[in-house]
Amino acid sequence: MLLDENKGTSTIPEFGKIQFEGFCRFIDQGLIEELQNFPKIEDTDQEIESQLFGNKYELAEPLIKERNAVYQSLTYSSELYVPARLIQRNSRKIQKQTVLIGNLPLMNSQGTFVVNGISRIVVNQILRSPGIYYSSEPDQSGITLYTSTIISDWGGRSKLEIDGKTRIWARVSKKRKISIPILLSAMGSNLGEILDNVCYPKIFLSLLTERQEQKEYLRSKKNAILEFYKKLYCVSGDLVFSESLCKELRKKFLQQRCELGKIGRRNPNQKLNLDIPENEIFSLPQDVLAAVDYSIRVKFGMGTLDDMDHLKNRRIRSVADLLQNQFGLALGRLENAVRRTIRRATKRKCLPTPNNLVTSTPLTTTFQDFFGSHPLSQFLDQTNPLTEIVHRRKLSYLGPGGLTGRTASSRIRDIHPSHYGRICPIETSEGMNAGLVASLAIRARIGHCGSLQSPFHKISERSEEEHMVYLSSGEDEYYRIATGNYLALNQGIREEQVTPARYRQEFLAIAWEQIHFRSIFPFQYFSVGVSLIPFLEHNDANRALMGSNMQRQAVPLFQPEKCIVGTGLEGQAAPDSGSAAIATQGGRITYIDAGKITSSVDGDTVGTELVTYQRSNNNTCMHQKPRVRRGEYVKKGQILADGAATVGGELSLGKNILVAHMPWEGYNFEDAILISERLVYEDIYTSFHIERYGIVTCMTSQGPERITKEIPHLDAHLLRHLDGNGLVMLGSWVETGDVLVGKLTPQPAEESLRAPEGRLLQAIFGIQVSSARESCLRVPIGGRGRVIDVRWIHKEENFGDNAEVVHVYIFQKRKIQVGDKVAGRLGNKGIISKILPRQDMPYLQDGTSVDMVLNPLGVLSRMNVGQIFECLPGLAGNLMNRHYRITPFDERYEREASRKPVFPELYGASEQTANPWVFEPNHPGKNRLIDGRTGDTLEQPVTTGKAYMPKLIHQVDDKIHARSSGPYALVTQQPLRGKSKRGGQRVGEMEVWALEGFGVAYILQEMLTLKSDHIGARHEVLGAIITGGPIPRPGTAPESFRLLVRELRSLAPELDHAIIYENDFQIDRKEV
């Protein structure tokens, strides 16, 4: 424990490890396991036998590189070959071949899969472990019922209940329950066995004596099965026992409800003190008996109930398990296919080879389906590098076999003491899935059987030496674990010190000598996103949650900047995200340009291709900039090029902005944010966005669609960017409505005949009007930018059609503007409300204009004081050109270690740079600001400093939308919702009142005449629009107007229609 003896220090494991380990487990173990389960297949006469040798499988080198797969919208996969043997007994022929089983999508170095050109990720799932669990719940009459639930490997569950009269039931469906003896005998045990193995035979006997007929069932297994079947399916009448009935029961009930699996076997063995071998994956009568025994004990208060939310009762289903399941499924399909082929071959008496027996389609399609549609295979969130990392480390309670967002109770969503060090207590999504999508803590790993483990330092009595131990969630509860926030201040008398420690889900103050373990690391309990928040301990957890979520929404800026105040984890996050280019080998750099870095390693040249202006899944821009110089020697693992949102290998999502917490003319009311023009013209918040627009050419009944430049009836101005092939030219600047790809869809001739102008033309000249309709790809509303790439992809479809897809990539450079969202790391978020010239902003005493004005009222109720603490060292660091890395909750050597250096640093900065205003003793941390418009000193000193603020992906450009007319919902006849559907807002009764009250005469006139029930006027308007003439004024009032007048009259004002002439002010009255 001595300071200089910190041998136990270790590096943080790579953030993507959970994914790689999972995939490796699948490749190394899962594949072989499933392949070995693949049965020998024989035909009915047992003449042909085919077999796979799974342990000698081979994965071929992928045919295409990952980058090309992305480019050509293909799947990055490798072919799986397995040696196969085919024995033909009658001809004594043995054929051995290596057969292609199918394509297996491969995980790339970033822990993701590329499927159809799109990065996808498989999220880890948290499930209840199979096993047996005891709980109590009151029934309707208030009597506590003790139930034990057996959860099978498939997620099915059956319950054993003890009711108030100590009768024991097995609940088979929501309403039906059967007596335990029946279940037991149906499972194959007889009365003698039961009574022998039970601790409380009396209760059992009382169960039996209660109802005479039960004894009968117990005599024979058949009767019991029949009775069981009757109860299960509520079939009445006489049933005859048959083998098929038994089989069905086994398939429907026993397999689904009682298959425990390997992991599930452990649990009853442990809990019920059984000694059943691990490969017995079904629950046996002994299990049920022991479970019943335990229930009785629980009923009498001798057993312990289980906490269902405890992590020890949950397991992680990782990529390995999901892929293995899918692989098993695929092999099942393959097995059927092989059987079919063998059958066919024997019928035709031809000799198959292993190669014709095994087809690759089952595996390929199964995996394609899995990656395409499984809820846990998700579209990789790629807004910034952090988002990718966090997505890889996500743990989801949702998905097949899990919970659903609507039904999950709040207990499940809550934090549990067992999450400590394994699942982050802060980071989760907001809204419907709150608490159901969690994040893995930094140091946690997946142990055997899918349990989550967290490392601790073991403190041994004898020696001072420490070593690291990984403990699963159940295991650490019986040890006293010091939180590690508060280590020895005085090394000599450590024993006298009391430290906060965890023991059996409680926080206690325990003397050091009684401690078994201590945690390794101050933010061991948090996820990556949360541990990037400095001054976390001064923050409300809700805001920290928002902060960590909003960091994931940060857009990579065009000139990123390291944070002045950070936690020290930034340096690990960037390289682990895979966004930066890292030297795979040491060597000397020989050549650099924007697209490539080559280095020579022992005479060989190694090239690293850089990513240049590529689109991410979230339309942000991925771009790598070289960070090394020519002639430099690099080591393995050194950063060669910075990717998006990284600087010098550190994650840098935002900018250090000079903020002042003060109100400014109401422009920062309710979280609005006022910024200086400097952020606009100095490109401080400028980000790149790459939008992809795509179009597919299909085969129609009239022939194929054509991509061409010759589009009839279209303004040449809109077509100006097209090249000879009908594709938009690279580098052209396109705006809304411009044609990107010219496409013609053939149309049946008769249809064009029906159009009046077509008929006219044919009548006069006898020519056929073009038999094609234009179906061009245009830039949608709001889109504009530079065309940087056009990809024309030919896709071989299943049916032999050549579908062609054209993707056009449009690059946008977006400066910050009113309506964009910016946020701090501590959950302080807001929308830009006004952009002021720099001379109008309040300024510091040295003349520097503030860049951003935040509302101080936004701090009080949100309790994110961290933002204040953050900005003060930020200011000091900015002046002294220093960066601070402050570990949150780091009180190992000092109380309030993070808060203490704030003022001293500020004082130091003021001394060092001879700027007395930086630290004024009367109001430390606050400055007297001066209003830039008037030159007056502001009334109160204002907290100013450099805060690190990212710009978020929620930008007005994507959201702003207006509609004059558009689609309506069929049922309600109200406008649709959402920008994507060109939705709108219904102008209802109250809105019309507002217009009436405000007196917008022209709109009202329109609404009461042309747009209302004045049928005649509406027809006239239509005619006028078509002919292009002026819109006529209706002569008479429509009924709706009359109604309005009547309504007004019923309020009793005098209603007259008067015309006042300007010249003589003569009033000319007229009755309405």
Partner: protein
């Protein structure tokens, strides 16, 4: 009251440069003092000067660049470490100094491999580079790096949309603000009613302008903004002067500035011919007969003088002054007295 003003103004405020320096070629610093000022004046001048320094000073910038064989700015050129966009951003940062207005052309033509810096820009004669070491691009292969640049002088900043540019011309967002930061502080001294103030002005520029020059420009620009008031008042006050029959020395400053203004205008007006304005031909002919061809010729005449020209009535004078007011924002003086 006017007497009082005269007695105070004998102690005219003077400015001094207290300190100056350059942290780097692109960061110049200057500190100036103006004293003595009467109570409250320092603040008036200070805030106005700060705002003028930050917002009103003109600068020179590269506004467009043309690269050959580049389809768009988000592409990489083989043999150059930076992407085209990065090069454009580097060009945006380059600090220039130029005297005249209008668009100038410059170019870079370099064969690699080498680093291209600001000193490699071939500039037109009137434009100067401030920091020759500013980085533009690093060529890593032996390729020719050929860029044509357009340089403009303006104030504020300009964000350009690439909408109307083609053929490899890329607009660069220009920031024409040479003053990086400006600050002022006020120190008062004296006691009782006799409080006087010193105004300290601190100016940081980007090097294209010495702080002192920036101060000069800012005051010029401020004065320019006040000229409309001066003109309007001059007329009234001159009218008053004629009544009082006395000339006031306190207006000497404004007269001087007006003089300078006038000189500058005269140069410009020499090149403007009156036939470009929308005068009726009759008026034009009349003026031509007395050899008034350019605007500066015309401005030598007062309204009274014009009336003396043959066939030139009151209506014609009105027309002329209306046109002058409309197109050039100049008034013809009523009588000869006002022309010096």
């Amino acid at each position: 009251m006017i007497r009082d003003e005269i007695s105070v103004s004998t102690q005219t405020p003077r400015w001094r440069c207290i300190g100056s320096g350059a942290d780097s070629k692109r960061l110049h610093y200057g500190r100036f003092a103006l004293s003595p000022l009467r109570k409250g004046q320092a603040s008036t001048i200070g805030i106005a000067m700060r705002r003028a320094l930050l917002g009103e000073i003109e600068g020179t910038c590269i506004t467009h660049a043309k690269l050959e064989k580049v389809t768009h700015e988000y592409s990489a050129i083989i043999g150059i470490e930076e992407s085209v966009h990065d090069i454009l951003i580097n060009l945006k940062e380059i600090v220039l100094r130029s005297d005249p207005y209008g668009t100038r052309e410059a170019s870079i033509c370099i064969v690699g491999p080498r680093n291209v810096t600001a000193q490699d820009i071939i500039l037109p004669p009137s434009v100067r580079i401030i920091d020759a070491t500013q980085h533009i691009a690093s060529l890593t292969k032996s390729i020719t790096f050929d860029i044509r640049l357009w340089i403009e002088k303006d104030r504020g900043y300009r964000i350009q949309s690439p909408k109307n540019y083609q053929d490899g011309i890329f607009p660069i967002d220009a920031v024409f603000m040479p003053v990086r930061n400006a600050n002022y502080s006020i120190h008062s001294y004296g006691n009782g009613n006799d409080i006087q103030e010193i105004l300290f002005l601190e100016i940081w520029t980007n090097g294209s302008l010495a702080p002192r020059e920036a101060l000069y420009r800012a005051s010029r620009n401020l004065i320019d903004l006040f000229i409309p008031f001066l003109r309007a008042e001059e007329q009234n006050i001159d009218g008053m002067d004629n009544q009082n029959g006395s000339n006031m020395p306190s207006f000497s400053f404004s007269n001087i500035s007006a003089d300078m203004e006038r000189m500058e205008e005269e140069v410009a007006f020499k090149h403007i011919f009156i036939d470009q304005s929308e005068l009726p031909p009759r008026v034009y002919n009349c003026l031509g007969r007395v050899n008034i061809h350019t605007l500066s010729d015309l401005l030598n005449y007062s309204q009274e003088d014009l009336m003396r020209i043959g066939h030139f009535g009151k209506k014609s004078v009105e027309q002329v002054s209306e046109v002058l007011q409309k197109h050039f924002a100049v008034d013809l003086p009523k009588n000869k007295f006002q022309i010096h």
